[in-house]
């Protein structure tokens, strides 16, 4: 083993790193005990960096397991988590799909596993660039899902996720997703927090007795994951997962509050983050890296005198129904931008469907204009996003819809050969 060096941080320090490295630092700061890994673009450098940390003795006591596939990654992470350890892995796109069966085992066993996802477009045609369809394909697995808009948010969200997932009232696994290449392979300054401060924020690592609901201990043998007949409690255990997920909304808010108190960075109420929605006439609901640039678009249009605002969706599961209703009562029109597809669904975009569903039974809420943008890493320019906001303003004032609509959804940035 290479001798431990101290060129990596123990005290608070700002370093310029890629999004993937930010995720790796978060796992290190969270003192994860077991990491299982299989490389896949654009996630690979997360687990590469972690292997470097482990090999250099910077993560003492951490087990790093190399396996032969993503299915085995999740299987080994689940087994490790069952014994009562804090676990971490990262994957993306096709790798996530290969992991799919085990995702249900993780949530069904109620294990607080945190997984970083550098989202990429599903193949075919082969694609490795930003597109959140991979994560939305796992919508009903019982995993919580958060989106990050900045490099710092990746680090922060992973720390917050461990605090959330390990809460006895929650006990669910969670994805922390960010756009492949756009965040994963670009560099920005990231504050790596003081280890003592992180330790004081996070719950203590589980002891050898394991989690309260699940353990592997030869002294106390149990059987789990057993067959339940239709007349047994299968139905009720499923209901409990939904119950935990919905109750997690309050926990997300309190974790975000605690985080701000200790580290001083604000992420709205944890579920959503409003940006210049006060006095706005139209608003845009948006998530992931596109949200960061949309802030700029909102700023620019505000300077030009347009009353626009935006809402950054931070969590997709659990879905912040109440907060979306609040927002939709403030403005008459909301745009929803998806960088993902839900083929054959009412709008074609996964989040716009959810927003519409949330508002369905509530009177006096905003009209929704679903938009799809930037699939497969297609560049989304600032001008394009400003134009999207202007479309909303125009629709609000004159009722005029944009061209290139497909079944009520605006697909922006389509190629046109001249």
């Amino acid at each position: 083993m290479v001798e431990a060096t101290n060129d990596f941080v123990q005290d608070k320090e700002t370093i310029v790193i890629k999004g993937n490295i930010s995720a790796a630092y978060a796992a290190k700061s969270a003192r994860v005990q077991v990491i299982s890994a299989y490389p896949i673009t654009p996630q690979t450098t997360v687990v590469e960096k972690l292997s470097e940390f482990v090999d250099n003795g910077l993560m003492p006591g951490t087990q790093y397991i190399k396996v032969e596939s993503e299915h085995s990654v999740m299987a080994s992470v689940i087994a490790a988590s069952m014994t009562g350890t804090r676990t971490f892995t990262a994957t993306a796109g096709q790798g996530l799909f290969y992991m799919f069966e085990m995702l249900h085992w993780a949530s069904g066993t109620r294990l607080p596993i945190v997984t970083a996802i550098a989202s990429r477009g599903p193949a075919p045609p082969w694609n490795i660039w930003a597109d959140f369809t991979d994560i939305f394909s796992c919508r009903d697995t019982g995993w919580m899902t958060a989106f990050c808009a900045t490099h710092q948010e990746i680090y922060d969200e992973i720390l917050m996720s461990y605090k959330l997932c390990e809460d006895n009232e929650v006990l669910l696994p969670k994805f922390v997703a960010y756009g492949g290449f756009i965040l994963s392979h670009t560099s920005k300054p990231v504050i790596i927090e003081d280890q003592d401060l992180v330790d004081s924020f996070l719950p203590p690592l589980p002891d050898e007795k394991g989690w309260p609901h699940m353990w592997i201990d030869p002294e106390r043998p149990i059987m789990f994951g057993n067959l339940i007949m239709p007349s047994g409690f299968y139905y009720e255990f499923r209901m409990k997962i939904h119950d935990a997920m919905v109750r997690a909304k309050e926990k997300i808010k309190s974790v975000a509050k605690d985080f701000e108190k200790i580290f001083g960075r604000n992420y709205g109420n944890g579920l959503i983050q409003e940006y210049k929605m006060d006095g706005a006439e139209v608003g845009m609901v948006i998530y992931g890296d596109l949200a960061l640039q949309m802030e700029q678009a909102v700023d620019d249009l505000r300077e030009e005198g347009y009353k626009v605002g935006m809402v950054k969706l931070r969590h997709f599961r659990p879905f912040p129904v109440e907060d979306i209703i609040e927002i939709a009562k403030k403005v008459p029109l909301l745009g929803v931008v998806d960088r993902a597809t839900a083929f054959g669904s009412p709008t074609g975009g996964p989040v716009s469907c959810e927003v519409k569903t949330a508002l369905h039974d509530v009177k006096g809420t905003a009209r929704i204009l679903p938009m799809i943008n930037g699939l497969g890493g297609r560049e989304v320019t600032l001008d394009q996003q400003k134009n999207q906001l202007k479309i909303l303003i125009k629709l609000n004032e004159t009722g005029e819809l944009p061209k290139d609509m497909l079944y009520g959804t605006f697909w922006d940035g389509l190629l046109e050969v001249k």
């Binding site: 002294e219 149990i222 059987m223 057993n226 339940i228 255990f237 209901m239």
Partner: protein
């Protein structure tokens, strides 16, 4: 009482099982279902058997391979070192016969056995 002894007692007696297993409705359920091991929880699985493993005790080298490989844990090591198969639960999978290094376990069709 040690943890292991306490747990053995819990396994044997329904009265002493942890509260985790007591519930009236879904709200009282623990987060996941667990069950405590009990002999023959799924019934006497020996009924499933088509072929019965018969150990040739005279030539057995007592190596313990059958005991180690048995997926059901129904092979027991006796005090004098020889092995016996619990036919009440043995499903007759034949793994012991396959793994026996000296081929001293024979799989005999149940209908060919006189004792019924």
């Amino acid at each position: 009482m040690s943890e292991s002894e306490k747990w053995k007692k819990i396994n044997k007696s329904k009265e002493e099982r942890p509260k985790v297993q007591e519930y009236k409705n879904w709200k009282e359920l623990s987060p996941i279902p667990i069950s405590l091991p009990i002999d023959g929880n799924m019934g006497t699985t020996g009924d499933w058997r088509t072929f019965r493993p018969v150990i040739d005790q005279e030539n057995c080298t007592k190596c313990g391979f059958c005991w180690m490989y048995c997926p059901e844990g129904v092979i027991e090591k006796k005090e004098d070192g020889h092995f016996e198969i619990d036919l009440l639960y043995c499903k007759g999978c034949g793994i012991c016969a396959k793994e026996c290094p000296t081929k001293n376990i024979e799989m005999v069709r149940e209908s060919d056995i006189q004792d019924g």
